[in-house]
């Protein structure tokens, strides 16, 4: 099964990437001219993007703070959002650290969210709460749920960990499946559909507050080292445009207005900050370690 997903994933990615490279310029120009007052902002499922109130809070704040009409664009997979961003169909997007590293040459950081005052988060390996496991080795042979093949915390970190421990990530688990949302990983583990999962530690902790019934059915088996928090990025070259400047300004000053604080409250974030791209070096290290495997 992992091979099936993997091949499907690579095929899709190759196809989308090639399609994007052909149409990127024309589409971007067309989009700029056709909708210059709208800021198209992509959201990956790393966030709690199924929360209508949260989306509304983000849209309201960004519209007020930037003066642009905000078009929030969500897609099922990281890959789709990343492709839209890289192809210029989005002005900016909140993406994961892994796609940022993958498209490092095409993308630039606009702002990095800060959780508990720091631009870091962890990946969690979780299992059912009533299961007696304390070590990742005990998860061997599980049916395992990943979030997304382009997710750092929901895929890459676990893959790198297994590789580092000398296991073949393809065979360590009996079966793997992708839920395309961190929340769904938790649901899959909590329901018993899978025995373990790889999930964004930030999402797990936030859901622990907002949906304790769900999260209480799971427990953390292992917490990873700290990684750079999924950033807001834009296509290189767009950073100097008014839209991105206004967006960056709005994000960095989000703690200063009522709407901004409301948005941050929904996200359980302490604010947005500027961080160097080196924040994601540890992600890049994992990618490098797994080169030839992924």
């Amino acid at each position: 099964m992992p091979s099936l997903y993997k091949w499907g994933h690579l095929d899709r990615r190759a196809f989308i990437a090639s399609s994007a490279s052909v149409f990127v310029t024309a589409t971007a120009v067309f989009a700029e001219k056709s909708d210059k007052d709208t800021l198209r902002f992509g959201l990956t499922p790393v966030f709690l993007n199924d929360d209508i109130k949260l989306l509304s809070a983000i849209r309201t704040y960004l519209a007020d703070a930037t003066g642009y009409a905000i078009d929030l664009v969500t897609r099922r997979t990281y890959q789709e959002v990343t492709a839209l961003l890289v192809s210029g169909q989005l002005d900016a997007a909140w993406i994961c650290g892994y796609p940022f590293v993958k498209y490092r040459k095409e993308l630039e950081l606009v702002a990095v969210p800060q959780w508990n005052g720091k631009p870091h988060y962890q990946s969690y390996l979780i299992a059912a709460a009533d299961r007696r496991v304390t070590d990742v080795m005990e998860l061997r042979g599980d049916i395992h749920a990943y979030s997304d093949p382009d997710s750092n915390s929901g895929y890459l970190v676990t893959q790198a960990l297994l590789h580092e421990k000398g296991f073949d990530p393809e065979t360590f688990f009996n079966k793997v499946l992708f839920t395309y949302a961190h929340r769904n990983v938790i649901r899959a583990v909590a329901s018993g559909l899978v025995q373990s999962g790889s999930v964004d530690g930030y999402v797990w902790e936030v859901l622990k507050e907002t949906d304790p019934d769900l999260v209480s059915k799971t427990k953390v088996v292992r917490k990873s080292e700290w990684f750079g928090f999924p950033p807001v990025a834009a296509v290189k070259g767009q950073l100097g445009t008014r839209k991105i400047i206004m967006l960056q300004k709005a994000l960095l000053s989000s703690t200063e207005t009522e709407e901004g604080r409301m948005m941050l409250d929904y996200l359980r974030l302490s604010g947005f900050g500027k961080s160097p791209a080196s924040l994601f070096d540890s992600v890049a290290d994992n990618v490098a370690a797994l080169r030839g495997v992924l």
């Binding site: 099936l4 839920t179 395309y180 899978v194």
Partner: protein
């Protein structure tokens, strides 16, 4: 058979009501069975329609995910499609590969992902139609997931059919209550109608039963049914019959009286005849005394003849007195009466050198010495006559026994003689079912009086041989019948 016999002993109104009730119960059962059967078919059809609709939706929604073996998508779809507020709720939905490996279920803990589905679970399903388990109150249906003619997976669904079965139970209860109430109502109406219909027959039956025990009564006007002409006609005919019967009875009574008067005449004639014979002897004796009184032997013979004649006359007079002029102030028979009887018989017995032994009742008489309420005069007469007969029948020097015992409310009086047996005429008089007319000849008169007295006291006379010779005449009379006392008086 016992039930049928008991049933046939019930009154018509009850029998017909029971039959109505049984017929109604049979109709109710048949109707209930048909209604429940139809309801069951409708429910099955409804459940199958519901299941097909649900399974069709699930199969269409998950088929792309089944093709990709995407357990999460299947699981997520199942959860999103699961209805929450329907009467027949799908409890478990399982999507499998064609060879029954679980891809996902909405209850993953019961059906682990990528594990074979348990065979006992699969055995609940049929390939083509809904299976309803009334014990577990669950419905089971499976549907293959087809893609271009190929089976790419299967959907199994388990429905909670308790609401449908509950509905069946409620319908059954409603049917039972309604039909039960209607059955009782119709049986009650049937009972009243039949009772009304057979009511006149009941009145007629009561009058006929009363008639058999001697109380023939006309049916009163207020008992005539107002509506039924047939019954009125029947009642009128019955009353006509009663009138005719009464007339006949009056005629018989009148004839009886006339017969009695005739009997009296015959009695008077008999008495005259009985008295005339000794009178002739007496007159001869007086002539003998008159002419030969100075001869010792002739005088004695004449005196003996006179005594015998007078005794005969006394018997006749006593018999007449006893039969037709019993004393009004009858007193109960007592122990003293037995002594009197012995005293009265003494001369007769002495003449034959006979002995009388009296055995009195075992129990002591009451404070006044009375034996029950037997009329003293009548019984004294009866005993006297029987003992005189016994004395006459027995030989010189014989012993005559009078035995009086009380047995279960009766006095049994037995006279034992040592004669040569009763004459046939006397035996017939004792054993005949009805008292015959006054017998001819003097010998039977005493016994005839006894028979009259026994009849009036509701007594029974009988005779049997005595051992070694003679007869035992028994009279059995009720000990405590006041009316007998009064009637005798």
């Amino acid at each position: 058979m016992i039930v049928l016999r008991r049933f046939s002993q019930l009154s018509s109104s009850v029998r017909i009501s029971l039959i109505v009730m049984l017929l109604m119960a049979a109709v109710s059962l048949t109707l209930s069975e048909r209604v429940l059967s139809r309801l069951s078919e409708n429910q099955q059809s409804y459940l199958e329609g519901l299941a097909n609709s649900y399974l069709g939706g699930v199969a269409a929604s998950v088929s792309p995910s089944v093709l990709r073996r995407d357990s999460w998508e299947i699981y997520d779809t199942l959860l999103r499609m699961k209805p929450e507020k329907v009467s027949v709720l799908p409890l478990e939905t399982i999507v499998t590969t064609p060879d029954d490996i679980t891809l996902a279920s909405d209850l993953p803990n019961r059906f682990p992902t990528f594990q074979p589905v348990r065979s006992e679970f699969l055995s609940e399903f049929s390939d083509d139609q809904m299976q309803l388990n009334t014990q577990s109150e669950l419905g089971f249906q499976m549907r293959p997931i087809m893609l271009r003619g190929d089976t790419i997976g299967k959907v199994y669904v388990v429905f909670d059919a308790s609401s449908l079965l509950e509905e069946r139970r409620e319908v059954l209860l409603a049917l039972l209550l309604t039909n039960g109430a209607l059955t009782i109502l119709f049986a009650g109406i049937g009972f009243l109608m039949v009772r009304r219909m057979v009511g006149p027959m009941q009145v007629l039956e009561n009058h006929l039963q009363t008639a058999t025990s001697g109380g023939l009564e006309r049916i009163a006007e207020h008992e005539f049914p107002k509506a039924s002409r047939d019954a009125r006609r029947m009642f009128s005919a019955f009353n006509t019959l009663v009138d005719a019967e009464r007339e006949r009875e009056m005629l018989v009574d009148r004839l009886g009286k006339e017969e009695r008067m005739g009997s009296l005449g015959r009695l008077a004639s008999g008495m005259a005849h009985e008295i005339n014979n000794p009178l002739g002897g007496l007159l001869n004796a007086t002539d003998t005394l008159d002419k030969h009184g100075h001869h010792e032997k002739a005088r004695r013979e004449a005196v003996t003849l006179i005594r015998r004649g007078l005794l005969g006359i006394r018997d006749i007079v006593l018999a007449a007195l006893t039969t037709y002029r019993l004393e009004k102030g009858a007193r109960p028979f007592s122990s003293q009466d037995l002594d009197d009887i012995a005293l009265l018989l003494r001369p007769e017995l002495k003449g034959r050198a006979q002995t009388l032994r009296i055995k009195r009742p075992d129990h002591k008489p009451d404070q006044r010495g009375d034996y029950g309420h037997l009329p003293a005069a009548a019984l004294r007469q009866a005993l006297l006559n029987l003992l005189l007969n016994a004395s006459k029948a027995s030989s010189q020097g014989a012993t005559i026994d009078l035995k009086m015992t009380e047995v279960q409310g009766y006095f049994l009086i037995e006279i034992f003689d040592q004669g040569e047996g009763l004459p046939e005429e006397a035996r017939q008089l004792i054993e005949a079912s009805l008292a015959s007319s006054v017998p001819k000849g003097s010998s039977g008169l005493g016994l005839w009086v006894v028979r009259q007295i026994a009849d009036e006291l509701d007594g029974i006379l009988s005779v049997r041989p005595n051992e070694p010779t003679g007869s035992v005449v028994s009279m059995k009379v009720p000990a405590y019948r006041k009316e007998a006392l009064n009637a005798a008086a």
